[in-house]
């Protein structure tokens, strides 16, 4: 067990981009987990939980009582509507990642299934799927989402609802990537050998093709999650998200809507922007790190 861990550590030292990405991920997870002990998630990230417009401070006293006995800590300050931005950071991060994961996983699952079966079975089915994916890929995703979200009405959108909407476009990319991979794998001699070993089509799919797809699936997952988070932030910043929730994109919407910069409330913008930047750097690093894992495999196979 220890030697396994040591091997992983040595690998991370070589593949430092993956290391940084995973490091940020672990940091965010810890931040969210540990931070959640210090807040009340039902109250603090929502309006009127705290006095408004408080800059970041560790000891806050109301203006009327400059030397109060129990100063409250607002490490990230509060916003114009009284939300504790520290609580917003903790709950919002998790919400944003949840949307990304949810939409990404559904998109991958659906896209992989379509791409796989399309490549494996071919024929009219393949031609139809291919045409559909090609056409849909040319339409900008955000456009589709804006149309759908705005026609649903902003009151009815929830966090999970957004994820489902985004999943509607998240499957396009994976379908194409997986299809082309399976097409090339299908002709490989080891698939012929598998047939000569007595394997049927289902066995070949699960035991011969899917294991070799795992690196591509991993990379495509990261890409899908990144895209989903992007999409959710875009939608939310346009005002098409769940406006009451403390999701990071929604926070940005309110920042713009309430002219936070003009009012000098810089910390209100700094919180979501910093976290979003961290999330994207993390996803980027992970995808580059995964690329390095995927490529030596491919090179070895040649």
């Amino acid at each position: 067990m220890m030697s396994r861990l040591f091997l992983y550590w040595r690998y991370i030292r070589r593949n430092w981009t993956l290391g940084i990405g995973l490091g940020i991920l672990i940091f965010l997870i810890l931040f969210t987990l540990i931070g959640s002990f210090y807040i009340d998630p039902a109250v603090d990230p929502y309006p009127l939980a705290a006095p408004a417009n408080v800059p970041p401070t560790l000891a806050y006293c109301p203006l009327s009582q400059p030397d109060c006995e129990e100063p409250v800590a607002y490490p990230f300050g509060t916003d114009a509507q009284g939300r504790d931005l520290f609580a917003v950071a903790i709950t919002g991060t998790w919400m944003t990642i949840r949307i990304g994961l949810f939409a990404g996983l559904i998109g991958i699952a659906f896209g992989t299934f379509l791409g796989f079966t399309s490549a494996f079975y071919g024929g009219l089915y393949d031609a139809t799927i291919r045409w559909m994916v090609d056409v849909l890929l040319t339409v900008p995703g955000l456009l589709i989402l804006v149309v759908i979200a705005s026609s649903l009405g902003s009151n009815s959108v929830t966090i999970d609802g957004m994820a489902l909407i985004i999943a509607l476009i998240a499957w396009r990319g994976p379908a194409r990537v997986i299809r082309s991979q399976v097409l090339s794998m299908r002709e490989r001699p080891y698939v012929m050998m598998a047939r000569l070993n007595g394997m049927g089509s289902i066995g070949i799919i699960f035991y011969e093709l899917i294991p070799n797809l795992l690196p591509y699936l991993g990379a495509t997952l990261v890409e899908a999650v990144t895209g989903a988070i992007f999409a959710s932030m875009g939608l939310a910043a346009l005002g098409l998200g769940p406006l009451r929730e403390p999701a990071l994109g929604v926070t940005i919407y309110w920042v713009i809507n309430q002219s936070a910069f003009l009012r000098g409330l810089w910390w209100w913008a700094a919180v979501p922007i910093t976290i979003v930047a961290l999330i994207f750097v993390m996803l980027f690093m992970i995808s580059i790190g995964l690329d390095e894992i995927a490529n030596p495999r491919v090179r070895r196979a040649e």
Partner: protein
């Protein structure tokens, strides 16, 4: 005399119009467990023929029969038997391995799927015995990934797999062309042993006539999808009847200083690329002995002597052999020339 494998008037045309095989018929009989070489250059159709025999390609016209049944029309039970009984060794020693698994995978899976062993211990013993037979040491091979072995080791392992499965027919498609010279003889020897000691008929597909001569009993010469000549390997190589075979043999660089190559003139067909298909003999445009009838209709299989057939009008005074009978040529009972060893 039952037919183990039969190709009946098989034609294969690929998308784009390439005719890979043109009305080819031959068979391997159950009682002639010899080695039959399918020899030809690239574009001759030999690889396509191998893929058809394995049931991986469907003929455009004609049928491929295994033990009398069309291989694309088998019941589930028959299909399982077909997959078990007809095995292959392919050209690329790396691509046949799934890089995700250790090399043991290609030995363990068929044992399990075809229920060849009653327990894991028995399976392990079978695997080790097969490895030793081809000259590999189990402790050096088992548990490794494909990229950790050399090309020669990987190919020998594929042959060991064939030994383990004891198929009824083995298709070897260019098994040594991607292997180093020093290992070729070893691998060919393993195939030879498979045939002579275990009685497994082998279809040896190759472009290299020297190895074909070395290992086979009979040979079929293919050119652009048609059979040009066939028969016992010794007379075909030493006394070729068909002009194409003659040109081929003359062009082979034999590793023998006494035998100089290239005395025959080579005719380059008109135009930079291959000529348009004519309705007659495929070799007409390059043949030194071409006659008007050669371009009119494809020549039947004439039999100038007991051991050879040639699809050439030069021999039109000889009796013809029906296409369905091509298998009878390969019976080891009929060897007119006895080969040593």
């Amino acid at each position: 005399m039952a037919k183990l494998l039969e190709l009946r008037n098989v034609t294969k045309i690929f998308k784009g119009g390439t005719v890979a095989l043109d009305d080819v018929s031959f068979s391997i009989e159950s009682d002639s467990p010899g080695i039959v070489a399918i020899a030809g250059e690239s574009g001759s159709g030999k690889t396509t023929l191998g893929m058809m025999a394995l049931g991986f390609l469907e003929p455009t016209q004609g049928e491929v029969l295994y033990k009398g049944k069309n291989v694309h029309n088998l019941s589930n039970k028959e299909r399982v038997a077909f997959r078990k009984e007809v095995q292959a060794v392919f050209q690329d020693p790396f691509a046949v391995y799934n890089p995700f698994y250790k090399v043991d995978h290609i030995l363990e899976v068929p044992i399990q799927k075809f229920k060849l062993a009653t327990s894991k211990a028995v399976a392990k013993a079978m695997i080790e015995e097969a490895l030793v037979t081809v000259g590999l040491r189990p402790q050096e091979i088992l548990g490794r990934y494909p990229h950790q072995l050399s090309g020669g080791q990987r190919q020998r392992l594929v042959v060991a797999r064939a030994m383990l499965l004891k198929p009824q027919l083995l298709i070897a498609d260019e098994p040594v062309s991607m292997v180093d010279a020093s290992l070729r003889a070893t691998i060919l020897e393993s195939l030879y042993t498979l045939n002579r000691e275990f009685g497994i008929p082998i279809l040896y597909i190759t472009h290299d006539l020297t190895t074909a001569y070395h290992i086979s009993d009979h040979i079929i010469i293919l050119y652009r999808g048609s059979i040009m000549e066939a028969g016992e390997v010794d007379p075909v190589i030493k006394n070729p009847q068909h002009p194409y075979t003659q040109l081929l043999i003359d062009s082979i660089p034999w590793p023998d200083l006494q035998r100089r190559w290239g005395e025959k003139e080579i005719i380059i067909p008109d135009g930079a690329k291959a000529a348009e298909p004519n309705r007659g003999c495929k070799f007409a445009d390059r043949c030194l002995h071409v006659m008007p009838i050669c371009r009119e209709s494809p020549p039947p299989l004439f039999q100038p002597n007991q051991a050879q057939i040639a699809a050439c009008y030069l021999y039109d005074s000889a009796p013809t052999l029906a296409k369905e009978e091509v298998g009878t040529l390969f019976s080891s009972k009929n060897l007119a020339y006895s080969s040593p060893g």
